[in-house]
């Protein structure tokens, strides 16, 4: 039947034409938009991992920069923090499509700088835009150096601290005359105070939520272990650690969590504190906005020094220049300028709870008036960053695996001894792998 075959051919031709037209249309539209508003060569591509309360503040800071310096056109891309963020960053740098500037935890530097995934900063250029080298927290600045070059410019330090309800703590005699936590010098001291608190109030003692979280248990452990001064060296094939001190800390954590929060997860601990079922919570300072909003007479302090010397698990958000084979000088300048502008206006950042790395802000009267931020600012002087290795740091698999081992100890399904062994075997696993960075 000739009629049918003609129509089939016509149909085919029509379909092919339609398909090619459909394929062309978006391409043409894209041409238009590239020339238009979506992005241009002058834009500074900025990747970061802040969402929630910090995310909103970062967005404000960037909007302010745009107002102050109209020729600087930052385009921020917000990605979810964690392992996936760091994978994307590594792939973007390796694949030659890196953003102009990105945020990175300084604890991840060891996995990025040695492999050439980052470019060093030009401190003179930064000074030209108003941030002199001695105006940045020297401790975290030093951590951002590799091969004697500055690869990470710190924005803040974010320590793991304690928050408490001043009213309740005061009634139990746990505050001094200035409303600060009285020094509790060893684990026994602390546990006694916790028991007294529980008895006086008829409520929960100190809480910490370690379940359904890939870092919290490790933060708690690492802060206290660092206080013991024990070694935790992962630079050789065999880890060098003090197993007795590890056991001592794990024992303490078990006793600390046993009565009130043996199975408590991260959101439940926050809820216990904000609904006043517990007057004391171990927490990242980044939750301070949440706590402030609950109407509690909020106090805060660095992690209590129970094992000899002050130390607090901490990390630092830093700015890095993901490697570009042939960076555009104007955009590099723009990246430096953007970072300088954000740093000098980081009082806004302090409102999120973080301790700014830009010293003129921390030393200002306005910062001292921020409560309770100012009261845990000293924690930034004793930051315990993750042990140095390519596989450690915030959002790493290492932290997640350490947490899983610790969680088994906390929920009572593993003994202290077997937990230490488990942590060491996990470390052995990482050390047995070749460094891919």
């Amino acid at each position: 039947m000739p009629g049918r075959s003609t129509s089939r051919r016509a149909l085919l031709r029509g379909a092919l034409f339609g398909a090619s037209a459909a394929a062309l249309t978006p391409a043409l539209a894209a041409c238009g938009s590239v020339a238009g508003a979506v992005s241009s060569d002058a834009d500074i591509q900025f990747w970061h991992l802040f969402s929630g309360a910090d995310g909103a503040l970062m967005q404000n800071m960037i909007a302010d920069v745009e107002k102050r310096v109209p020729e600087l056109r930052p385009r921020s891309t917000v990605l979810e923090w964690g392992a996936a963020y760091y994978t994307k960053l590594a792939m973007a740098s390796a694949g030659g499509r890196a953003p102009d500037v990105a945020v990175m935890h300084v604890s991840r530097l060891a996995g990025y700088a040695p492999g050439g995934l980052l470019d060093p900063w030009d401190l003179d250029l930064l000074a030209e835009f108003g941030v002199a080298r001695d105006e940045l927290n020297p401790k975290v600045s030093a951590l951002g150096r590799y091969d004697d070059k500055p690869f990470a410019i710190p924005l803040d330090t974010h320590p793991f601290v304690v928050f408490y309800d001043r009213d309740v703590m005061d009634k139990s005699g746990l505050l001094d005359s200035q409303g600060k936590l009285i020094p509790l010098e060893n684990p026994e001291n602390f546990l006694e105070a916790a028991a007294k608190l529980r008895k006086d109030t008829g409520k929960l003692g100190p809480v910490v939520g370690v379940f359904s979280d890939t870092a919290q248990a490790w933060r708690l452990f690492w802060g206290f272990y660092s206080q013991t001064g024990g070694p935790f060296d992962l630079s050789e094939k065999k880890p060098r650690v003090d197993e007795d001190k590890m056991a001592k800390v794990i024992d303490f954590i078990k006793k600390l969590t046993a009565p009130d929060c043996r199975t408590m997860d991260y959101p439940a601990a926050i809820a216990a504190f904000t609904t006043r079922r517990s007057p004391f919570v171990f927490s990242g300072e980044w939750e301070s906005a949440t706590y402030r909003g609950s109407g509690i007479d909020l106090g805060a302090a660095p992690l209590p020094t129970l094992f000899g010397r002050p130390a607090t698990q901490a990390d630092s958000h830093t700015f890095v220049l993901p490697h570009q084979d042939d960076p555009d000088p104007a955009r590099r300048r723009g990246a430096h300028r953007l970072v300088a502008e954000i740093l000098t206006s980081s009082l806004t950042w302090a409102k999120a709870g973080h301790v700014p790395a830009y010293l003129p802000v921390v030393e200002s009267k306005a910062y001292a008036a921020l409560d309770p931020q100012a009261s845990y600012a000293p924690a930034a002087d004793h930051p315990a960053l993750d042990p140095q290795a390519w596989f450690t740091g915030s959002g790493s698999d290492f932290q997640a695996r350490m947490c899983q081992a610790l969680q088994s100890a906390i929920n009572g399904s593993a003994s202290t001894g077997s937990t230490v062994k488990k942590m060491l075997s996990e470390i052995d696993f990482f050390l047995s792998k070749p460094n891919p960075a």
Binding site: Y86, A90, S93, A268, A400, S413
Partner: protein, 300 residues
């Protein structure tokens, strides 16, 4: 005998010979571009030490990755977890689906409601499933633990205790995906000819006899299909486990696909991750062939 003159037939055949490939061309392009090429590329990578960061020189490593994989205790334990999950999940996913289909088919009133209720979880994206169950499993005062508490039992660390985590993941998976198998069974049940039941009823067969001698044998082909699809789906489990436990506690739920992901994307070792993928691929192929053989023999 055809009445069409041979000349006409030849041109028609020639035309279809030309247009046929044109119709399948779009699929072929995608198939080659997104399956054959990556498959070959992955195989090549498994013989190199290439790294995601692009810094590994990607040098040819021969069989080193495979040798490492075969002695890697973590790979074997994650393969073991995958096997355990497959056994624990496949059996209920077939049996429960069958029971649900039989219950609905035997004429419960309000059939549409049961069909909808059983199938609905399957329509949910994994991210929603994860949120629902994370809440139900919450340690401390979560709904499931509260129920246990109400009958005087201790709360369970559903996702945090090595004894229970895998069971919890299986529970979520069955709840989420059983609806699909249920639908396949329901369709098969509706295709069983009524006259078989009528004949059996005339011969005086009771309900059990009809189930064993008519329904189940008639469903054999469907059961074979479901079993094959289910085992393959369970072996490839990743998303719900990644979201619920990230493979924990203590790696007790980490399936091999997650180990591949961790090795390649957070450990950056693409070459080694490819090698494990191919080891796993080989296992999948062997299992599939074995299963097809098993069921086709039964058919014959």
């Amino acid at each position: 005998m055809s009445t069409v003159p041979t000349g006409v037939r030849r041109t028609a055949a020639g035309r279809s010979r030309r247009t046929g490939p044109l119709f399948v061309a779009p699929f072929l392009v995608f198939f080659v571009l997104f399956l054959v090429v990556p498959l070959g590329w992955g195989l090549w990578m498994s013989f190199t030490d290439s790294s995601l960061t692009g810094r590994g020189d990607g040098a040819f490593a021969g069989l080193a990755n495979y040798a490492e994989a075969l002695t890697d205790a973590e790979m074997w334990s994650s393969l073991g977890n995958t096997a355990v999950f497959t056994v624990l999940s496949s059996v209920p996913l077939v049996v429960v689906a069958l029971i649900m289909a039989l219950l609905v088919h035997t004429g419960l009133p309000g059939q549409w409601l049961w069909r909808l209720a059983y199938f609905m979880p399957y329509l949910l994206p994994v991210a929603v499933v994860w949120q629902i169950w994370l809440m139900l499993f919450q340690p401390g005062q979560g709904p499931l633990n509260s129920m246990l508490g109400a009958v005087g039992l201790d709360g369970i660390g559903w996702l945090t205790d090595t004894k229970f985590a895998m069971w919890a993941v299986v529970l979520v998976t069955v709840w989420w995906t059983v609806g699909f198998n249920f639908l396949l069974y329901l369709a098969a049940l509706q295709a069983v000819p009524d006259h078989l039941y009528e004949a059996a009823a005339i011969d005086g067969a009771g309900a059990w006899r009809r189930l064993w001698s008519i329904t189940l044998p008639q469903l054999r082909r469907t059961t074979g299909l479901i079993a094959v699809l289910q085992v393959l789906a369970s072996l490839k489990v990743f998303d719900q486990i990644y979201l619920l436990t990230r493979g924990g506690p203590d790696g007790s739920t980490r399936p091999v696909v997650e180990y591949i992901y961790d090795t390649g994307f957070t450990g950056y070792r693409l070459g080694y991750a490819s090698a494990i993928s191919y080891v796993f691929f080989a296992i999948l192929i062997v299992l599939s062939i074995a299963q097809f053989r098993l069921f086709s023999r039964r058919e014959a």
